[in-house]
Subunit: 328 residues, 2 copies
């Protein structure tokens, strides 16, 4: 068999051999291999629970693939909520005829990313749909983490808090767009796709009030969502929001605001002013936070404002319209 057949999703003998040959050999651990209807796991009394589906096209892009992103996205959602990621479930939706070598590559990538992020895949499900009904792989992952901080409460944010942006912006969205090969020119940009355990192991030592990873809708969506939820504003400084030259060039050329473009390895961390410099110093010692910067301040006026490098000010708008479809 070199392509996925409908029988793989049927629940019978083909499903069983697919699970043991393709899945268990890569993601297997005692809990997953038990093949129970539910995995029985040890949890703390306070647990973080999250879910995300991934439909990125193309499925392979510089710096990552749909398997890596499916683990990173869910791991990062747990980390920003103040939890230590522990357990992952996956739901694979595969079009009939999908190349088995591609699928193996995706699952290898999931396994490697789980290893890096310190999580175990403990349950999963595979469905196969008829040829023509779906144009590529879809992966859903849900995640469970042990809550050690609660960074999900907007009410904890107050004016004067500092905004740390942990990396340079817009790399993932531009990477995927370029990888589509529809722009009429060559070149590639590496996605920032990464599990941010190292960054949050550092941040957790400090007085963080809120955190979020800036995926779909980018930094602009995160800041505006926070403003809408709790009434605070932001004064951001363009000179401290890093964008790599090739990314900025591509954004300018295509009319994208880098602040509205998706990232997969960038978090917005809001910290009490007195801890901001210390937190930043520790975050900058990590591999994924080496380019972190304090890029703004929480204000009381409910407006999300950018101070430009030439000293002017403009609103950072909530992204509208369809942005880029299927980048994450």
């Amino acid at each position: 068999m070199d392509r996925v057949t409908l029988a793989v999703g049927g629940g019978g003998a083909s499903t069983q051999s697919f699970i043991s040959d393709i899945i268990f050999s890569r993601l297997g651990n005692p809990l997953l291999r038990k093949a129970a209807d539910a995995a029985l796991i040890d949890t703390s009394l306070r647990t973080a629970f999250t879910t995300d589906s991934f439909v990125v096209r193309p499925e392979f892009f510089p710096g990552g693939d749909i398997g890596k992103i499916a683990i990173c996205g869910t791991v990062n959602d747990l980390l920003v909520s103040g939890a230590i990621p522990e357990y992952i479930s996956f739901g694979l939706i595969i079009p009939e005829g999908y190349l088995l070598t591609d699928l193996e590559r995706v699952i290898d990538s999931m396994a490697a990313t789980c290893e890096k992020a310190g999580v175990q895949v403990v349950c999963g499900d595979t469905k196969v749909v008829e040829r023509g009904a779906l144009d590529g792989l879809i992966i859903n992952t849900s995640g469970i983490g042990r809550t050690v901080r609660d960074w999900t409460d907007y009410a904890n944010i107050s004016a004067g808090d500092k905004v740390i942006i942990t990396s340079d912006a817009a790399r993932h969205g531009m990477s995927v767009l370029l990888a589509r090969g529809e722009l009429g020119f060559d070149g590639q940009i590496e996605s920032d796709c990464a599990p941010l355990n190292d960054v949050f192991d550092a941040a957790r030592q400090y007085a963080v009030t809120f955190a979020r990873d800036a995926t779909r809708g980018g930094i602009a969506a995160v800041l505006n969502e926070i403003a809408a939820m709790c009434g605070v504003g932001f004064l951001m400084e363009d000179e401290h929001i890093k964008v790599r030259d090739n990314v900025r060039y591509l954004c300018d050329m295509l009319g994208f605001d880098p602040l509205s473009v998706a990232n997969e390895g960038l978090a917005v961390i809001i910290v009490k002013e007195q801890d901001a410099e210390k937190a930043l110093a520790d975050i900058r010692k990590t591999a994924n936070g080496a380019d972190a910067a304090i890029a703004g301040t929480v204000t009381a006026d409910g407006k999300v404002v950018l101070k430009t490098t030439i000293g002017g000010k403009r609103f950072i708008e909530m992204p509208r319209g369809e942005l880029l479809p299927r980048i994450c």
Copy 2:
């Protein structure tokens, strides 16, 4: 807006209003409305965790729809593992242009089923894919439950245990097949799709050794999987495996073995012999277990055998090939 646009999946303003207008109004509760990257939930120290994706076509069928099945499937996976279902996540994958009234109907159905099953939807994600890339809705749900029994250990099953089948077989698969309208004749069969809380509230009082719901691959897949995992066999009695007349007629006509057809409201519960009659009596008092029967016995010889109504014996084979695609 009467159809889902790509912008709904973009992470910006349209996503926000979709979430509040379509999702929160139906599934909302304090945890979900918090709109955090992860929901912080109270768990016990021993937790059941499961996931499933749903791709049933047509999306609406007699007795259910993709929303109802997405909740039932995950709730039942928790119940059969010995847990009390508590929290649900959802991942919606929607094709661009999907009718909003249909989507609302599906989400209403999810909400009604959650109410019935006593679970809360605490986190979710919505993705929209371009027209033509996907032929209908896909829903993933993951579930978390409080483990009060451990019914996931094959090693607990031993020869002499009794097999309770909680309902009549093959209704879901035949319902969906008939609803496709491709058979050239009319008629409808009601799916058995249901959350089995009542059945398992009853079963939990007794010495259950193992339980599983018989979805894809039907009862035949469940019995053969158990046999393969731990070496026991089964002697099942055809006269105690109920199949409704219209379901049996359709199966006969189309060449399906009712034992291999999917159910969405039927569980196989293995109970110690001394508790079997008492457990059966209590299960039969429930709405979803009214037609339960002791339909077989665990044997030591590793073979899955059916004693037919005329006294012969045949093997119940592991279903092979593609069975029915996209019925659950």
